[in-house]
Symmetry: C2
Subunit: 224 residues, 2 copies
């Protein structure tokens, strides 16, 4: 019985790693589509989000099978509960990446920017997603805590971008109202994209908190 | 058997109406907390979101019981599938309302504004939530379509607020950089709140689309 359970747990790990990899690719593609103004890639990203949704359903079914057939207790039960919670956050990460791609599809961003901070936000959130999944698979509490702390990096970048947006709009050359609004709306799109990254960071933090719960039995929210 | 099914369907309707009412109250309280700078009410709103989460779980359990015990087909099956999908959107509406309350809790908004457009967005989204639930309960296709069309009103209000934000930041009196940034950040908080309302409108649209599916068997996305 235990052997069967271990085999299924290995499969669960494999599936979660795959779902994590899909999230990373989707974030990566969304930011690439943004920087290279590549609407084809943006479209691809929006479609990839459906794969993530499917993966969530597959893993959910696997977890329910594990719960029903194996009736796990204690740490095993926590592990599967954590997996069930984690995939909800991973699915939402996919949503946010698709939301970024949506802006690339709809808007015609023509800003003279190298997206330095946006790129950093993308890198930081990809790192958080990778490491939170790694922490789950390796049952690594230290790594989970590192991910949770790293969310400050993402939040700080978001603050930097907010201030940049204020400066940019505040110092816009006085052009025709129409030109001014076009430029302002582009800047606001950048802000929205930054907001989506900030949210991705929140979801990666949630994942790491569920990893913590699966190892220690205590969830962050209960500690407060 | 059919009678038992009908009794359970009546219970399902009742539960969904209650979940809808919770969403409406939460949106209402979030905007009230914002306008009256009432942090206590904001805190209450964030807590109310947990009731919505619980309601989602209850309705999910009821739907699964209906599916397992009654093995419904055709229209009945669509109805229960639609209910399962709708509650995900309702739960996210609760999340967005709590996000608005979060801003009220954290920020110290000191804008000389009467929040006219934000109030209109709140009213418009509450109307959408109420009517989409009403459309589900009454199996009212016309009302569902009206809700879907009404999302344009919310989107337009969001555009108005975006332009106001650009104008406000663009025309900020030249103060010290510190004062300027404080004011700019307040304005951006308003923009974020507007974004949450825009999202609530999207979720209400999703609900109405699931109602349409439950009646016609065709889902919006499949029509494209």
């Amino acid at each position: 019985m235990r052997n069967r359970f271990d085999t299924q747990l290995t499969l669960l790990n494999k599936e979660i790693i795959e779902m994590g990899a899909l999230c990373e690719t989707t974030i990566n593609d969304a930011v690439k589509a943004l920087i290279e103004k590549d609407k084809e890639l943006a479209k691809k990203t929006i479609e990839a989000e459906k794969q993530i949704d499917q993966k969530e359903k597959d893993i959910e079914a696997l977890c329910l099978k594990l719960l029903l057939q194996q009736q796990p207790v204690a740490r095993d039960l926590r592990l599967i509960s954590a997996a069930l919670k984690m995939i909800t956050d991973m699915e939402r990460i996919g949503d946010q990446a698709a939301d970024i791609a949506d802006i690339v599809m709809l808007a015609d961003l023509s800003l003279p920017t190298d997206f330095k901070d946006i790129k950093q936000m993308a890198e930081a959130t990809i790192k958080m997603v990778t490491e939170s999944v790694e922490a789950f698979v390796q049952r690594d509490l230290v790594l989970a805590k590192e991910v949770i702390a790293y969310d400050d990096v993402v939040d700080n970048l978001f603050d930097v971008i907010k201030n940049e947006v204020i400066d940019t709009i505040g110092n816009m050359p006085k052009q025709s109202r129409e030109e001014q609004n076009k430029m302002g709306l582009d800047v606001i799109d950048i802000l929205m994209i930054a907001k989506y990254f900030e949210r991705i960071g929140d979801h990666a933090t949630n994942i790491a908190e569920w990893v913590e719960f699966s190892i220690t039995g205590t969830h962050m929210e209960q500690e407060e």
